[in-house]
Symmetry: C2
Subunit: 230 residues, 2 copies
Amino acid sequence: MIHKKAFDEQMKHAVYKAIFERRDMRHFNGEPLDEAILQRLFEAAHAAPSVGLMQPWRFIRVQSSELKQQLHALVEKETQVTAEALNDSKDAFLKLKVQGILDCSEVLVVSLMPKREQHIFGRRTLPEMDLASAACAIQNMWLAARAEGIGLGWVSLFEPEALQELFSMPRDATPIAVLCLGPVDAFYSEPMLIEEHWAERGELKNYVMTDSWDGSKEAQAQKQWQTTES
Amino acid sequence: MIHKKAFDEQMKHAVYKAIFERRDMRHFNGEPLDEAILQRLFEAAHAAPSVGLMQPWRFIRVQSSELKQQLHALVEKETQVTAEALNDSKDAFLKLKVQGILDCSEVLVVSLMPKREQHIFGRRTLPEMDLASAACAIQNMWLAARAEGIGLGWVSLFEPEALQELFSMPRDATPIAVLCLGPVDAFYSEPMLIEEHWAERGELKNYVMTDSWDGSKEAQAQKQWQTTES
């Protein structure tokens, strides 16, 4: 058993600092990512919680520059299709930098494991809990990367089937992320989508209800969107 | 811009310590959870990344003891149904403590926001990215809780529709978690499902492939399950 005591103040501060200063990065300086750091990030990911301990995360390191180019092309293609689907927000969207695949030093594809249907614990009514577990693994990696001074960006602008084909994945292994990792010149002081006026941060009080759904809080929480995406 | 530098060694250590010593807790000592700590945990959750910055997480604090009892009953019911579905693993499963709703000091229901279909950025091909964002929020809360010396357990043994009804939620707000929070006597030294021999931790090297899917690594990663759940 590990003793229950809380971390000391300085260590608590470090954890909160990683949480509050973590950013979804799209700008990298192209410097190499130290292999020892990358291994620590994988270990952090692999220490994530998972439903029934199924450990559903799989990582593919993309090292071939030809594959990186093809992956970049697939993300560019989906970026255009998304832009068209956004109608009025199309121009604002196309001004954003939405990925850093060719600028970063390490590209990872994260996928859910195949044969997930055999895992029932915690998933009988909510089969998507495997994705939740894999997201926790990526969040661990993100926070560890921030502590290491390394940027990480999660890109989900792709057709999963196209990635399955590109990386010869089984049909029941679902890609959920393209991660761009590497040294950065600086971390954004606010999430880039706030800096670029794409969205605003909602007020926390509107996200916490008591004992029952609260429609008036929900209306407030939805409000920052009415001035932006819709 | 925030300077790019890595955290110092002691602060890095704190972040990794939270990551490696975080546990999915089911045992609580029933002591109250300080309100100031809970607020910091909510702030940590709300600092999570989210796809297109949609901030899809919603929290319902369950303070009514009647609602806690009803929630407990719903989880108990699904636990029995899951046990039946597990066939050969039924007895092993029923020996596990799978929730701490009546023992912990704070129960939260986490749900995805309604009207998610209006958010297209990063979700056109992968609409489930909103769940990934909410899972990152819970992971932030989990790590902050560990630093605060507070236990957190994520329970997904429930019928989402039953929770929607219990908390008068809109039909398009999907509950994804019942979180149990509170002081604990000690954190498990290994994930409880490992301590209880439900599952083993896979070897990290089998979870990291290069440039292409690797069926032999996958077979190794799946192997720890052949001795347990199947």
